[in-house]
């Protein structure tokens, strides 16, 4: 194929290949579309541009921002959406808008603005991966950037107090999660059996919220009650990222939720079967992209796993 594609992005933790939503979106899309990405994780020696990550580099191009990177990959024939109808393509755009307007502000707030979370988790995590002396400046800058993004989305004048906005953005985010859960239902992915751009975006936005251990977790609690969304994230992690999971942070391993553990074990059993089928597919001639067989939950599992719908 073409020259190697390199993706610079923030690293992983808590069982995720990356804790950064935008990086995750691109990584997931690459897996879904079969794009051979070489992932370069930002660590203490990184000298890239500031806060622009994820960035895709090829021989002659540098592309930033998830939407642009995905467009670029599609032009290189790595297209996860080629089976979608025109209407589904339109729906994808609409749902991404929903995610960005209704969910993202609260996710940004949870990571970067909520004081307990920011100072005990987010800031130390990012600072430890940025070379000194940038480690002293960049996290703060990212935090301010997040705050601005939140206030901008809300369309409020800059004079408005954050507290008033906070309640609204969490309410919107919870409603958005409910909507996503309703839309997904019992399907494997948002448009049937194969993952597409929308799945990459939902996964990218949801997974960090789902997995990262925070002191203040109201939104995470809400998400964990929507079991089909949790199953969605776990399925993708297990099917597409299992082999490249670096270290599970010790904190993550200790505090794994009991239900989640049960589900993971069941999924792992299934994935042995998938691995065998996957090997067969690898031997066969190259066809973009590969269809993974649907993960079917066993009947007993299905009963105990009936998700409770929250009324919005």
């Amino acid at each position: 194929m073409a020259a190697p594609l390199e993706l610079s992005c923030w690293g992983g933790g808590w069982g995720l290949p990356s804790v950064h939503s935008e990086s995750l979106v691109v990584m997931a899309y690459a897996k879904f579309s079969g794009a051979p990405l070489k992932v370069i994780v930002i660590d203490g020696t990184w000298r890239g541009s500031r806060g622009d990550v994820p960035i895709l580099t090829t021989e002659d191009n540098i592309v930033s921002q998830p939407a642009k990177i995905l467009n670029f990959l599609r032009k290189q024939k790595y297209n996860a959406d080629y089976e979608l109808s025109a209407k589904q393509g339109a729906d994808t755009l609409a749902y991404i808008a929903l995610l960005e307007e209704k969910l993202l502000p609260a996710v940004l707030h949870t990571f970067w603005v909520e004081t307990d979370n920011y100072f005990t988790v987010t800031k130390p995590w990012f600072a430890s991966r940025i070379p000194f002396p940038l480690s002293l400046i960049l996290p703060g800058r990212m935090s301010k950037g997040a705050l601005n993004r939140i206030l901008l989305t809300r369309g409020q004048p800059p004079l408005y107090h954050l507290r008033e906005v906070e309640a609204q953005i969490y309410k919107d985010a919870k409603e958005c999660l409910n909507l996503l859960s309703n839309r997904l239902g019992t399907s494997q992915f948002f448009f049937g059996d194969t993952p597409s751009t929308l799945d990459a975006y939902v996964f990218g936005f949801l997974a960090p919220l789902y997995k990262v251990q925070f002191p203040k977790i109201q939104l995470q609690k809400h998400l964990k009650q929507l079991s089909n969304l949790c199953r969605f994230c776990d399925d993708i992690l297990n099917s597409y990222f299992r082999l490249s999971l670096g270290g599970l942070s010790p904190a993550g391993q200790e505090t794994v939720d009991a239900n989640l553990q049960k589900l993971t074990q069941l999924v792992n059993k299934e994935s042995n079967l998938i691995e065998k089928m996957d090997d067969n597919l690898r031997q066969s001639p190259q066809l973009p992209p590969r269809k993974l067989p649907t993960l079917k939950l066993t009947p007993a599992e299905e009963e105990s796993n009936s998700f409770q719908r929250l009324s919005p």
Partner: protein, 221 residues
């Protein structure tokens, strides 16, 4: 409106029927009203018409200052004042009128998603065109085109976005598209983008005819 106020308004709203003298306030037409505000006002008007709730439109130069949230349009119903499409939809719902009750959960999710898309792309474009006139308009136009393409595909050959009955999504899309098509701007590129999609044009015409002309309101100026 804060969450507490919202809940309070809903409760009071439920108790009284829709009065004859409900009024919608917006800025003066022509010079004063902004593109984006005009779209918002049209959307609310279309929505109320679709719900069969009569409202009188009043233009005031100080409409923004009259509004409780500073945003226009706002409606004055009984002794309550509610601004912006979202809260107005809620308020109307509390009074027992809704356009989206017939939709299932998945359709409701879709409707909300498309409303965000419209807010995201069309509103941004309108705001951009109002305030800046420069060369980077190219990217904005591309977004508008993408949005229109999505809306056009979603609408297909149906009369409304969720087939036979209009919803708040139809009202919102109408408000924006109609405004873009009919407002005189320094450049026509924005309305040209919309005109590329014949089903969207037909959609606007249909709503204008059915909800504004036929009701004896006369053509929208």
């Amino acid at each position: 409106m804060s969450l507490v106020a919202e809940a309070f308004v809903s409760q009071i709203a439920a108790t009284e029927p829709w009065p004859e003298n409900a009024t919608l306030y917006q800025q003066l037409k022509g010079e004063q009203i902004l593109l984006s505000d005009n779209a918002a006002s049209l959307a609310v008007q279309a929505f109320l018409q679709m719900c069969n709730l009569p409202v009188k439109v009043v233009c005031r130069a100080n409409a923004e200052y009259m509004s409780p949230s500073g945003k226009v349009p706002f409606i004055h119903v009984g002794n309550q004042v509610v601004s912006e499409l979202g809260p107005i939809v809620q308020f109307v719902k509390a009074k027992g009128h809704s356009l989206s009750d017939g939709l299932d959960e998945v359709q409701k999710a879709e409707m909300k998603a498309y409303m965000e898309l419209v807010n995201n792309m069309l509103l941004t474009a309108e705001l951009y065109l109002q305030w800046c006139d420069e060369a980077t308009v190219g990217e904005v136009l591309e977004d508008v085109d993408q949005c229109c393409q999505a809306l056009s595909q979603r609408l297909g050959t149906q009369p409304y976005f969720f087939n036979k009955q209009p919803t708040e999504l139809d009202a919102l899309v109408f408000g924006h598209l109609y405004t873009i098509l009919t407002t005189q701007l320094t450049n026509d590129e924005l309305s040209e983008k919309v005109k590329n999609y014949s089903n969207l044009l037909a959609f606007c015409r249909r709503i204008e005819q059915h909800y504004f002309e036929d009701r004896g309101k006369g053509r929208l100026s």
